[in-house]
């Protein structure tokens, strides 16, 4: 047990990497997801088809497979040489984008079209209306689903051990080997993930409460 205690700082320093993966992945996913949601709701048929293909692709393939596919296949083939951390963030982001697009799409559609119609009737362009009227409401409505995406991303980040990214799980595995103990290190790692997930979703909830607007719910 004391052997493990010495390794505590080593595992804890993995938190920075884990959070880095999460922040990067969710950030990229947010941008991609938002654009795709807008495209799916307001775009033409060809655009909708492309987005549908993208979402289907990244939702069907297991994350581990995606990581290897991109690290050993796509990136070398296209000439980009990305290190494991960057590659992981990109892949996490691309995949999160697929899921987030569906969250935002659902939120936008739950508003109905009357909000945008009212904006257009005042003379706003389609983009202005989407940006100033639809999105502020849709994003607020999305928040509960979005905090779910955070929780998922925290867990998904641990899969990047396969590329050797020094996040929490990778470090735990090394400690297991170094100390010949399995239960305690993994127990600790599990507790760590629990705390991170709880803290994060709680933070999103606080933001949600702060930015809540009386009576703002989408049409059912």
């Amino acid at each position: 047990m004391t052997a493990f205690a010495e390794f505590l700082p080593y595992i804890l320093s993995g938190i920075v990497w884990t959070l880095g993966l999460v922040a990067g992945g969710i950030g990229i996913g947010f941008v991609i997801g938002l654009f795709m949601a807008i495209g799916q709701v307001y775009g033409g048929e060809e655009l909708k088809a492309i987005i549908h293909a993208y979402v289907w692709f990244f939702r069907s393939i297991p994350l581990l497979v995606l990581l290897f596919l991109f690290y050993w296949g796509v990136f070398p083939a296209t000439g980009f040489k990305l290190d494991p951390l960057a590659c992981s963030i990109v892949v996490l982001g691309l995949r999160s984008g697929a899921y987030q697009s569906q969250i935002f799409r659902g939120a936008i559609m739950s508003l109905g079209d009357t909000q945008l119609v009212a904006a257009r009737a005042l003379g706003m362009s389609q983009m202005s209306g989407i940006f100033h009227v639809v999105l502020p409401q849709a994003l607020r409505i999305s928040m509960p689903g979005w905090s779910n995406e955070y929780a998922t991303m925290i867990k998904d980040s641990s899969i990047t051990f396969a590329l050797g990214v020094l996040e929490i799980l990778t470090r735990t595995r090394y400690v297991v080997a170094a100390t010949n103990e399995a239960l305690i290190p993994y127990f600790f790692a599990g507790a760590l993930f629990l705390v991170l997930t709880y803290a994060g979703t709680k933070a999103v909830n606080i933001v949600y409460e702060r930015t809540k607007i009386p009576g703002l719910v989408g049409k059912l």
Binding site: P9, Y10, L47, L69, F70, W72, P76, L94, Q126, A177
Partner: protein, 277 residues
Amino acid sequence: MSEKKSRRNFVKTVGVGVGGLVVGALAGTAIAPMMTPPPPQAKWANPPPSGATVIHGMDAAYPPFTEIDSSGNAVGFDVDVVNMIAQKYGWQVVHKPWDWSAIITAVQSGDLDFVASGMTITAARSEIVWFGVPYYSYIHQLVALATNTQSKDQILNSGAYIACQTGATSDQWATTLIAAGDNFQKLGLDSYALAFEAVTDGRAVAVISDSAFTGPYFKANPDQAAKFRVVSTIGGDSTYGYATRPGDYGLRNDINSALEALMATAEWQTLRDKWQV
């Protein structure tokens, strides 16, 4: 109606962007199997000069050859030897932990310059990487609980689970034995330590390990050693070697001369005693 045009342009741009991404991803995945990761052009065909950064790939979960200490630094028998070699030539060596299943590809692609991490020299691996001089020999073993009085044949045909380390040579032995007709089920674990724990837990009746692991492991943990007994050896001697990219003459030759020189000294045995290998 100029407004519609601007909307269409925006939508078109987004569409092209997303579409390009998808097409790129699909194209890459289609092309990739035909393209091995482009190897750097014989980076170390000439010996690395003093001050050069040389990247040492290792499995951080393979004590006592390569592991990490509580500060996260790489330590182990192989790490010590690599540090000595690096010091001799003035190299700036970086010890990079890497996932074992992808470590050879990482050497090919240039993410690592060489692997020194208890890597067994095999014919299959030799087709992809160059090995230096063998520096350690060991033999595979079938290990069971001390209370288990069965023979090797009995255990190998018990139909129960036998543990091994996934991706390691013990894994390959398990597959070979099953293919040759032995009746047992392979239980792959992340590391030998976990494989042994599987036996004490009762999830497996035995472990296919190797003396490179069990030697130091039992010496360092006499209480564990008491629980187990080595039932028999499996196969013949195997050796560890350092792996480098084909074409890196300079690096390999430097490593070889340093290793050979070191192995001839008393310091070599001191190191072995230190790590109990």
